[in-house]
């Protein structure tokens, strides 16, 4: 190995990489678009819906209920001049979400009646829960006695991890995987098919040096992805980046190396560029959805959780998430690092056995 020669070749590899706009798109721009889209779709807490209120009671209790509903997050209160019957029809047709009618009941009581449609069962369930909760609160307050049970919902994510915080490391892992697997497998197949490897065989430089320079350039790209995508999340979405984020670097490098060797394995088994594309898609697409990159694995069926645990992307996403947004240091993610390096080792043995230059 000749360090100076590898260095100069790595620089040339980086030039070839970055002068291809498609590389920059897939490695940097596409993840930003994906993060923005998913952030907009799922980023905010769930919107419970709009309740149209007809307050025909005008009692202190009815006023208190309307006020309490208005203060509930996710609920929009609408005061409309409308007939109950036409509002019911609108709910059936999906033009209105729910109608709350408050009437004076017998004695000093207030009768609250909620009209909803089971066509949107989840939303109806949420609205029923909210209205019944508000009604109980107001009733209890009217008695003047202290509540027998006090209730306070508390999130287990101490740092109040929002969806976009969860998403950033997942997308970073995903984009490093795609750049590495597709990047190395396609160039390898193209170099072989176009006779470039044959031409290089006529120079005194060992082809292994050429390969090492390509891997070095790809690792540099992975580092750039870490820096650029974290900065993007911080600036555009105001994501709180943990002080332990530096520990994401070894995870990102080990993950990139793992997926580079995976790309190398594909590139050594396949001879046509189209086949390489198909094979990498078959490998990366399921991994993308099963590894907890977009949504927590814990929210998925048990079987999926079991599958996730054998996928390297799961460990990379996990390691990146722990270090970048969960304030965990390197020691905490050593198991993830170990798994990634172990998979790298196994794949390296397999691919070196099957590899051919021509």
């Amino acid at each position: 190995m000749n360090a100076g020669r590898i260095g100069a070749t790595t620089v040339a590899q980086l030039k070839m990489m970055f002068r291809r706009r498609i590389t920059l798109f897939w490695s940097l721009v596409f993840p930003m678009i994906l993060m923005t889209l998913l952030g907009l779709l799922f980023g905010r807490s769930i919107d419970a819906g709009t309740i149209t209120v007809i307050d025909a009671a005008h009692t202190p209790a009815s006023t208190a209920m309307v006020r309490a509903l208005g203060q509930t997050t996710g609920v929009t209160v609408k005061h409309d001049q409308t007939e109950v019957t036409s509002a019911q029809r609108q709910i059936r047709n999906g033009d209105r979400e729910a109608l709350l009618v408050l009437r004076a009941g017998p004695g000093a009581t207030t009768a609250a009646q909620l009209y909803y449609s089971n066509a949107s069962a989840t939303q109806a369930g949420i609205l029923k829960g909210i209205v019944s909760g508000v009604a109980s609160q107001v009733s209890l307050a009217a008695t003047g006695s202290p509540p027998a049970v006090t209730y306070r919902p508390t999130s287990v994510d101490s740092s109040a991890l929002s969806y976009i915080d969860f998403l950033l490391p997942g997308i970073l892992a995903l984009s490093i995987m795609i750049s590495a697997v597709i990047g190395l497998s396609t160039v390898l197949v193209a170099w072989r098919k176009r006779g470039i490897l044959r031409r290089l065989k006529l120079t005194p430089m060992p082809l292994s040096e050429f390969l090492v320079s390509r891997i070095a350039a790809s690792l540099a790209l992975a580092l750039l992805q870490v820096v650029v995508l974290i900065a993007f999340g911080r600036i555009v979405f105001g994501i709180h980046i943990s002080g332990t984020a530096w520990a994401a670097i070894p995870i990102a490098l080990a993950g990139a190396l793992c997926f580079l060797v995976m790309g190398f394995t594909v590139g050594s088994l396949v001879s046509e560029p189209e086949t390489a594309d198909a094979v990498t898609n078959v490998i990366t697409n399921p991994m993308m959805f099963l590894s907890g990159t977009f949504f927590p694995v814990s929210a998925m069926p048990h079987v999926v959780q079991q599958i996730a645990r054998v996928l390297p992307l799961y460990y990379m996403a996990n390691g990146l998430r722990d270090t970048i947004v969960r304030n965990q240091g390197l020691t905490h993610v050593l198991p993830d690092l170990g798994v990634l390096l172990a998979v790298t080792g196994v794949l390296a043995v397999v691919s070196l056995r099957t590899f051919r230059w021509e």
Binding site: R5, T9, A12, K15, I196, R198, L200, T203, P204
Partner: protein
């Protein structure tokens, strides 16, 4: 320095088989230093396989080959620093400029003077104006010249060119001939080229080996090969639709005689041409077939 009197290339009994098919069948020849040596033959004659065994890309099944006094096999790397190769179908890396490619290749040979070497090689192939252009933006002829520049960047003693002008238009072909002459005559390098263009071999080569069906069927200077026909002119015509080719010393006498005989037979002579013989005629005489590149 190379010891004087040593052959640039010595090939002895070189053989390559692919299963039942014999691609190169025990050929022997030598190339002298400073010579422009051509291997001429139709497609599939074994030219490229021969070249690739000398370059160290393909291992021969039998026979010996040495370059500048060193055996190529079993360790081709021992000679690869001294030879420069343009392969028949190398596409280059895209997204590197000609200059960057040349400097990268100079680095492969561990040369630190890449910038100067790149400039020299570009000048030699007349590609200075395209120094900062990407290979994929160049014409076919320019790409071929770049491939030749890459073969020259480490200042090799022997340069191999595998069908350098195939696929080029006549203008680009003639430009490339000037480049090849410059490499051979001005830069003093030994040049070995394969071609299926008779005219190219005649124009560029000091000596030509004619290959057909895995064997060398003739080897001499172009003039020597033509002289072996024992004729000064080639007379061709069609007589009642049948093509007639004959060779003679005295053009006037031969033409008159042909016309006379046709008159006697009462046949019609058309498309009469008289010219000096070429390598095409040598091939026809040796194989009984017309040369088809």
């Amino acid at each position: 320095m190379i010891a004087t009197g040593m052959n640039a290339i010595t090939v002895d009994g070189l053989t390559k088989r692919y299963g039942e098919h014999v691609a190169v069948d025990g050929i022997s020849f030598h190339v002298e230093q400073g010579e422009a040596f051509g291997i001429l033959g139709p497609n599939g004659a074994g030219k490229t396989t021969t070249l690739e065994m000398i370059e160290g890309l393909r291992k021969p099944d039998a026979g010996e080959v040495s370059v500048l006094g060193k055996p190529v096999w079993p360790d081709p790397r021992s000679v690869q620093g001294r030879i420069g190769v343009q392969l028949q179908s190398t596409s280059l890396f895209d997204k590197l400029t000609a200059r960057e490619l040349l400097m990268l290749f100079a680095r492969f040979y561990d040369r630190k003077d890449g910038a100067e070497r790149a400039a020299t090689a570009l000048a030699l192939v007349g590609l200075e104006a395209k120094a900062d252009a990407y290979a994929d933006s160049m014409s076919g002829g320019q790409q071929q010249r770049l491939a030749i520049a890459l073969a020259l960047v480490h200042d090799p003693d022997v340069v191999f060119l595998d069908e350098p002008t195939t696929g080029l238009d006549p203008q680009a072909r003639h430009n490339l001939w000037d480049v090849i002459r410059a490499i051979n005559v001005d830069a003093g390098k030994t040049v070995v080229l394969t071609t299926h263009y008779l005219e190219e071999a005649e124009q560029l080569c000091d000596r030509v080996a004619i290959m057909d069906e895995a064997r060398i069927i003739a080897l001499d200077t172009p003039a020597g090969l033509i002289a072996s026909l024992g004729a000064d002119v080639r007379i061709a015509y069609t007589e009642d639709g049948r093509e007639q080719i004959s060779y003679a010393h005295d053009a006037q006498a031969a033409v008159l005689e042909a016309l006379e005989q046709a008159k006697v037979r009462g046949t019609r002579v058309e498309g009469l041409s008289v010219r000096g013989p070429s390598l095409e005629d040598v091939f026809l005489k040796l194989t009984g077939r017309e040369f088809r590149g």
